[in-house]
Amino acid sequence: MTAFTNIPKQVEEVMEKWNGKTSRRNFLKGSGLLVVSFSAGAMGGASLLSSSASAQGPAVAQAAGPYPDPDFKQLDSWIVIHADSTATFYVGKTDGGQGTGTAFRQMMSEELDIAFDKTSLIMGATDITVDQGGSGGSDAIEVDGWPMRRVAAEARRVLLELASARFGAPVDQLVVSEGVISVKADPAKKASYGELIGGKRFNITLTGNNINATTGVAKLKAVQEHKIVGQSPQRYDIPAKVDGSLKWAVDAKAPGMVHARNVRPPVAGAKLVSIDESSVRGIPGFIKVVSKGNYVAVVCEREEQAIRASRQLKVNWQKPATPSFPTSENLFEYMRTATPTSVVQSRTQTPDVMGNPDAALASAAKVVEAEYDFPFQGHTAFGPAHAMADPSDGQMTIWSNDMKAYGLRTGVAEFLGMPRDRVRVIWQEGPQLYGRTAADDAGFEAAYLAKEIGRPVRVQWMRHEETAWDVKGPAFAFNLRGGLDAQGNVVALEYKARTADYNHIGYNEPNTVLIAQLMGRRPKGPAPGGAANPAELYVIPNRRRTSEVVAMPLVWESPLRVGNLRDPNGPQITFAAESFFDELAAAAKADPVEFRLRHLTASTDDGEEFLRARSIAVVKAAAAAYGWDNRPSPKPLGTGKILTGRGFSYCYRSETLVAEIAEVEVNRETGHVWVKRLVCAHDCGLVINPEGLRRVIQGNLLHGLSRVLHEEVQFDTEKVTSVDWLTHPTLTHADAPARIDIVLVNGDPNPNRPDLPPYGAGEAACKPTGAAVANAIFDATGVRIRRAPLRAKRVLEALQAARV
């Protein structure tokens, strides 16, 4: 096998430290800790599945590939204690840059009772870390943190048992402090973790029907005992990111590696007719044009040669006979008039129809109606998709920043028809993920090309390719109606949403990643797509909520392919729902915060008391942090060039509550909007690392701001026309607020409510920002803008139309 030259530094260090001769995998194999699984198809159809459970028998072991799965039911798969009393944790996650790796180390160090700086962490290497699915859904701490904590507590329990036997003292007569166990009555009797088990295996079998349920018999610490959780150690990954020493997935190299670039259809849905290879044969270093179906790539010895070849290759394409989609300008009209492909079934606990909304609207003292539009938005990852794959010796190793590295491994194995245990993925850091790398197009492409060429291949998408062809967050069109009674209370609310979410692509599926689509592979049918309801808890007696999915004319091989973009519907839905609730407040001539609190504190028995009480707390905390004065919006129109205003918005995501306030300056001559100040009150339960959390929230706030101010995928009827940072703009330094205040309502670190578990924080705060900004613009100008993004041109046109 190729000598791998690009094992992540932290993995390499651990392997060296752990055992100079034995690899991590051999360590696990020696103790029977690897579970071997088989792909029946790849084994010639022989039914080996029934005998697969574990690698015990010699015949089975012989058939096994080099990368069986680590067994999550073995404590040794999670934790290794070294002779020097340091520990290495192995978890099945990836860190998208939000510091979850540091939080994992904190939680596991806490339960193991070892100093944070005596630990290290390995993530996302599929052959040496258990499969926790990688990243996604803001579940790193909320869901995956639990088995990590429990296995660390179990390791501590076993170490106490070992010390008990060594000292002849019962466990309850022992104390643990930072990796040293001593006898209470005789502190001279003490042993470090390294002395007790360093370099040896625990050989403890855990229980649990699935990896999330993995547990030993030890109990977790009470929150009041936490010494490391709730503190803010600096992120361990940052120094290597500022001194240039980190090896990223883009840095992966292997001996004999060559470079590939894709050649995409010039318009959506085009069919490949012919390729004139002679157009690139003269380029130095040219190796091959690879094509299958409508997938085309060029492979060259050097990167700049591959770029040149991809630009120079002459390909004859046949355009489709009919338009692939409406233009982006006509998108919302198309969505409102299209026949829906499905009605989304609500996943919320409350029913979609409550009371009698039609009757309540008919008898309301005042009815407000509005349409809101939110466009397709791209991930537009800062670094375009990339991966490197090495096909040596009948195995496949892929270096990737895939947030779901485990899914990539399974998907590639199926795509290439290889046994899973001959495929591994080594996750390495990459540009922000937010759902983009859950469908790792480049990982599949690198593996495919490596197999075709027989050499390690590095694939790198170009900017125009990424911005045009990446996975998109779905567009939404909303029709909203609300009824107020004579006292200005909302008595009816009708919410209708249509989302262009048809054929929503899944996670690393071998028939929906872009290369598979272009090659003509198809699943049984397109994924029906989905949506969510507004995530608020206002008490409104009569409601109707309907969400429908509509399809674009071109379903497959489309650059408007939809997938998960951070949340993935919340920014769109909350923009409409919380803007409209502000419209109702304005119609009732009520202060926006008072109006929200009035509808959160009203009497109801819907069983949501706890989430509603926490909603009230964040709404009040945000208002207090801002210094909110009670008055209706809009404020009296200013006379100067710059108009100022403030806007409020609130929502929840799962169990996490967020309230935000934006303060804006609107230039009435140019339409330019500057969000001068942002306030966010945030409750995600137990906080693991407050400083880390604040920065994650900050990133969320500004991502939401970027989406509402700037971002929109633009297209004509045959192709995406927003293809770089000029045509698909993003937030810049000039847009950054002068002041951001973040209030962790749950406290630092949650001294008042130790009963709350940790909830997810990776996405919630990006949801309400858009509406807070739109509401602030309304407060400043009296003009309601109902279509995102709120670029200067759109704002100026709205101001001029309203003669502001």
Binding site: V242, W248, E304, F382, G430, Q698, L702, S706, A736
Partner: protein, 166 residues
Amino acid sequence: MSNITLKVNGRTHTLDIDPSTPLLYILRNDLGLQGPHFGCGLGQCGACTVIIKGAAVRSCITPTSAVRGSEITTLEGLAQDGKLHPVQQAWIDEQVPQCGFCQNGQIMNAKVLLDRNPNPTDAEVREWMDRTLCRCMTYYSIQAAIKRAAKVIAAARPAAGKEVVA
């Protein structure tokens, strides 16, 4: 192909390459200097920034032939005698990066800003940094880190003696 001599981070290299190749690919693939990143290849995002003759240069659109003989500094060359540059240290102290993929551009551009303007106003920081993008949206932390670094650099400068008003 032709021989080109490059001076990078104090070392001299002679390479047999196509001289029109953007400097970025030579740094990353031939010299193993992977601090500068590919972000757009269009000079729009700043991920590939290096410092040449005191200027922040976007290496993804700079032909290697244009910089032959010039002293080139990459992110790996900022630290002196094993000590991080104050800008790098400020990035750690402020815990700036999220994913960190853009931070080469942020750090290199901030370094050039402070070399030219040791005490920039908020508006000057925004203006100078505006074309250096971040998709994790760490702008607020970056601007705080630049102010922190400016203070540290001023305090270390013997002639300065005055407190910097940020």
